[in-house]
């Protein structure tokens, strides 16, 4: 279908709008129904889109009928197709959790949720750098609002930090865009990719400042050291469905780094070829290090989850630094895995916190769980997946990344860090698990409310993906390899998107 590429943006937009209008705006019940239906539609259309991409190749959607580079174009390729499908699945799982009751903590949860999805999908799909800025704004502003959902002093403080840092980020984004437009005369990514190779001398130098400024912006989003400080507090204080949805937010930053520094400032960028790589190397490795230390230091499960998000960001950035097809493929696989598993952990941490009374999710002695078996099983699954132990998806991603390092210097840096990072997660999770599940005082008290069926379904859906990612690992990794090949092949990822331009 011709318009399928824009569905991932339009569906959440329309559902968000409908929820602001009567009669749906008047009852939380109809908003819930609308949300779930919307997410189902979104999932179906994203699946159909990916199917279409697989069969017919890249889908180019010129908005307003204005051809690139003059108008805005959406590019649904295997990379963006995979990521919008991931977002749609995550959204469905998270919304199921939210409708079980957490959506009542404040106004407008459902429309904001939808707008948030719209922003994320738009950021993945757009082929225009300014449009990327716009969708960054959409997803950021929605995330500011979602962050304060269900109120509280901690949330407001964390949200304030998040807002101000990201406003700084947005300003830098605009500076960067201005510089790039001022040197390249275009902001269509494919067009930029072609023009950047012709830049020379001083113009190239000026363009480089813009390009590197964008690395700051995307790095902030991706929680790259030294700009990761906001993340642990923000993620650990957000309400569960929001934190779970945020699992994909750092990935938007990582994705932008991959897209911009592979397609535009990649191999073929002439004087500006691979400009991000020398910066990404040390920062990615330091991010993994600080994240792993944070994992070790975490006093509660939510902070642990947040620090794991930092580790996964660092790992993905290391893939970007390796800058090869194999590394990109590994990153795509790992991205899917870590998004779903971290989201699962954020939701599970909420269930755990609610059943342990005052101890919440802190690693201290507490009363027993109401549903120890189910929660324990889910915890084991999440832990194994995130540590990267077989038989769950973490290990596949990890091995793909390890295998993607090329020179022995790369290997010497990346392998020990990733493996020691896994060990640190293993120790942290074993400590967490044994304390949470076995260190009890007194006998069971059934005061706490058991997790609701919808909440269980939601967590179950997320956790189910991790064995599936292994069982179908062959097909999936083949797909990510194709996607990576596409991204690194400037013939298809740049020239192929501009009719009438040839190298």
């Amino acid at each position: 279908m011709q318009h399928l590429s824009i569905f991932p943006v339009l569906i959440p937009l329309l559902f968000g709008v409908i929820m602001l209008l009567p009669p749906i705006s008047r009852s939380i019940h109809s908003q819930r129904v609308a949300s779930v239906v919307g997410c189902l539609f979104l999932l179906l259309s994203c699946a159909a889109l990916l199917y279409q991409i697989n069969n017919q190749g890249v889908q180019l959607y010129a908005l307003g009928g204005w051809q690139a580079p003059f108008g805005i174009a959406l590019i649904a390729d295997k990379v963006s197709g995979l990521l919008v499908l991931l977002t749609a699945f995550l959204a469905l799982a998270v919304i199921l959790y939210a409708v079980a009751g957490q959506d009542k903590g404040g106004a407008y949860f459902h429309p904001l949720f939808m707008f948030q999805i719209m922003g994320i999908n738009g950021a993945f799909l757009t082929g225009d750098l300014f449009n990327l800025f716009v969708f960054f704004e959409v997803l950021l502003i929605a995330s500011y609002a979602l962050l304060i959902h269900a109120g509280g002093k901690q949330k407001t403080q964390a949200a304030l930090h998040y807002v101000i840092l990201n406003l700084v980020g947005s300003s830098l984004f605009l500076f960067g865009l201005g510089i790039l437009y001022g040197t390249l005369g275009t902001l269509n990514m494919a067009d930029m990719a072609i023009k950047v190779g012709q830049l020379q001398g001083e113009t190239a130098t000026i363009a480089k400042t813009g390009a590197l400024l964008l690395l700051v912006v995307f790095g902030l989003k991706a929680a790259m050291l030294p700009m990761h400080f906001w993340l642990p507090k923000t993620y650990s204080s957000a309400s569960a469905p929001v934190a779970a949805l945020f699992a994909i937010m750092t990935k938007v930053g990582v994705y932008s780094i991959f897209r911009v520094y592979t397609v535009i400032f990649g191999e073929n960028a002439g004087e500006l070829a691979n400009i991000a790589t020398p910066w990404l190397w040390p920062l990615a490795l330091l991010t993994i290090t600080i994240g792993s230390i944070g994992v070790f230091a975490s006093p509660n499960l939510k902070t642990l989850s947040a620090n794991l998000v930092i580790v996964s960001s660092g790992t993905l950035l290391a893939c970007a630094a390796i800058n090869s097809e194999a590394a990109t493929s590994a990153a795509l696989y790992y991205m899917v895995h870590s998004t779903l598993a971290s989201a699962g952990l954020f939701l599970l941490a909420d269930v755990i916190a609610r059943q342990r009374g005052k101890a919440e999710d802190r690693f201290v002695r507490s009363r027993p769980f109401v549903q120890p078996k189910m929660i324990g099983f889910a915890f084991a699954i999440v832990a194994l997946a995130l540590v990267g132990m077989p038989p769950l998806s973490g290990f596949v991603g990890k091995i793909m990344i390890l295998q993607a390092t090329q020179s022995s210097t790369q290997t010497m840096w990346v392998w020990p860090l990733i493996l020691v990072g896994s060990l640190s997660a293993l120790v942290a999770f074993s400590r967490a698990g044994t304390t949470l599940f076995w260190r009890h005082n007194g006998s069971g008290s059934a005061e706490a409310e058991p997790a609701k069926p919808l909440e269980i379904t939601s967590i179950g859906l997320l956790l189910l993906t991790t064995p599936l990612l292994v069982i179908f690992g062959g097909v999936i990794s083949e797909f990510t390899q194709q996607a990576a090949f596409y991204l690194h092949d400037i013939q298809s990822s740049a020239y192929g998107l501009l009719p009438g331009v040839s190298p």
Binding site: L21, I72, H161, L165, I206
Partner: protein, 932 residues
Amino acid sequence: MNSLIWLPFLPLLGTLVPLLSAHLSRTACAFLTAALPALTLLLVLSHAGDIFQGERFHAVIPWIPAIGLDLAFRLDGLAMLFAILILGIGLLVILYARYYLSAKDSIGKFYAYLILFMFAMLGVVLSDNLIQLWFFWELTSISSFLLISFWGHKTEARKGARMALTVTGAGGLALLAGLLILGNTVGSFSLQDVLDNGDLIKASANYPIIVVLVLLGAFTKSAQFPFHFWLPNAMAAPTPVSAYLHSATMVKAGIFLMARFYPALADTNLWFLIVSLTGLITFLVGAYIALFQHDLKGLLANSTISHLGLITLLLGMGTDLAAVAAIFHIINHAIFKASLFMAAGIIDHESGSRDMRNLNGLWKYMPYTATLAMVASASMAGVPLMNGFLSKEMFFTETLHQASLGSLSWFIPVLATLGGVFAVAYSMRFIHDVFFNGEPINLPKTPHEPPRYMRVPVEILVAICLFVGIFPSLAVGDLLFAAANATLNGPAPDYSLAIWHGFNLPLVMSIIALIGGLLMYKNRAHLFKFQAQFPASDPKLVFESAIQWLTRQSQALIAWAENGSLQRYVFFVLAFAVVMTASSLLKLNTTAGQRPEIPLDALSITCAVLLCISALATVIWHRKRVVALITLSVVGLIVSLAFAKFSAPDLALTQLSVEVVTVILLILALFFLPQKTPKESSPRRIVRDLSLASLFGGIVGTISYALMTRPLDSISTFFTENSKTGGGGTNVVNVILVDFRGFDTLGEITVLGIAALGIYKLIARMRLFMPSADGNGLAWSEDRHPMLLKVISQSLLPLALLVSAYIFLRGHNMPGGGFIAGLVTSVAIIQQYIAHGVEWIKTRIKFDYQIMIGSGIGIATLSGLGSWVFGHTFLSSWFDYFYLPVIGKFELASAMIFDLGVFLTVVGATMLILANLGQLTTSERPTQQEHE
């Protein structure tokens, strides 16, 4: 596909059986659980004939080629030997555990974990792919963790489980690295390819690192020194687990690994040095420590460490015969040690204690069990006619043939004999302390014989001990030969399994060990006294405190780095931005470009100076909020003037109206904030921030200057050329906004709408007290809504709306458009709020601003969707010219509908924010009097 695939997967299915049958009787559950492993064992045995003929079975299903992982299994002699041990002893343990576990314990869960382990362990030994081998290897660590912590309410179970998982997990990660390098070196992850390429591997530069990493995996798993400490602490597990995992099977996984990779990695100096020395040290350390344990299981655990060291030593020696001896001892140790653990479990179960200082004279209470235990101990000590004797004899023989240490090689047989002495001594202690040596002391229960069937597994194992010991070739000849063949990846050497080789040196060593051990046991009091001088150290506590120290250090580091200061975080972001931009600007030699400069005039200079001054003033007076707001609005005003000067009237208009609305909003917000801001920055910080800000400002200024003085060839010419013909409007800015880049605008109005919703969300439930006086203590004016303001604003409203309609309609061709019109309308309505107050408006304006936002975004989206009907892409515009009498020729464009959406969203969003900020306070307005 042959039945090989089923071998590991039958037990995997089997993990479900105990969970499903847990509600049945314990016996039924045990039998059902045993069914699938038994079937698997039969399947394995059905291949025995072919394997003994030297055949090898493979089965491969491709799985994840990207990481070299295939579902690949092989069955050869070595794999079969281990499979038989795993399944055979596993079945006996199932039976044993049925009686061992108490009624409180969940037997279904226990069996499920046990079978899960069986599956994992079978996977390890049957793997024909390196990655898959690691896959199952890690699964054994996980299932071992679950089994050790089966009694998770006990501290030592949790700690022991964590320690075991950490040590074996760390080793597993090293192993993964080693296997990956190994596979990359060979170019294949197939085990057979690796085994066939031993020479290539040993010649490769990667060889040392491969050996070290793979051995790290093996040594941690098989509890070799210095990683041996986890095994005694794993004894917190139920005894069936100790018997099965921590003596017979899992701890042999490391040994298996060394045997499996023997053709690929062994037989070099490096291998010899690391493996044999580690083995030797472990052999001696384990034997020594075992003697001083008071806990029955502690003794057995350390003896296991020692025996694992012995096998490792044999594998390190590098001769084919040593490898045969190693395999033989694997079998023997598994059998006698499993039976000993079970016997220890029986003693514990029926007497309530495992402390050898209290357990004395049990012979009287349980003679039958005592006999079994004594036979097994004798095998452990290496007494003739037992299986342990045979392999120990082979071990001694091999130590004598070792010459790799040059003139120091004689150390090896001597130390081996010393280890043998200790082995006899601790075996003696096990027998004598427990079954004789006086009367029991303060046992919780009166000891008695166990249930009949609890003894059966021990009986079977002890019978095998004797059978192998007396008829070795009949009992295990074929199996041993096949396993040796498979280990060596070639023909096994000639060896003899006879029990009598004549009176030779190894026999002398055995005799020395026996007599020496007895003497040592007899004089144990002196040894114990000597040992007591060492300060007691519990590896568990050392390990825990090491972990806790690490945790504290990490916490300190994190607390220092993430100190919660927003200023610091922003500083980092900006500093990073400075580094990124400055790094390339340093290479830019000339700032100014070639483009001719626009002539300067006095007005522009004045404005520029004003702009700088007011920007600086904002910073200087930022703590006086109202003043800062005024200076800030000067900045905004000059920016709009600049837009106007550089022929961007639309932007100027927009900027102007945005200024108005934001200043009003800010004043409203300031009303709720403290009037004065305290001084928070230290002078140092001011200097730091000022420097950073100046630096960044300078950089941005430099870049802007560099950019503006250079010519640019951009896509914007396309827009000016196509605005009228393609977009139907002469106002290029508006056509860009609503047509060329309408999608951006759609996004931005969504942002505006969301912002309003977000602010509403933040303040909807907030209720603040209105201060009764301003900052100087002056009471508010009594006249809340001055008449003059009311009248003027009310009469201005229609005028303003008319202006905004005009601006809206002309937008497509002249400066204007939905955005500006929306802002103008908002200002007009705000004016009413100011003049009349929220309450007054509420009763008159029934607009729901939320609906306005929704319908605004909705209309804009629908106008875009409309183009689908005509087969165009989203947001494709349509326009045409019409003629009506009186009005004349006019244009209709779909973009106007879009612009209407923009208009509604802008009004809705602004008003939603404003109306809610306005009613933040309690409606009761405090007066000065009430406070006095």
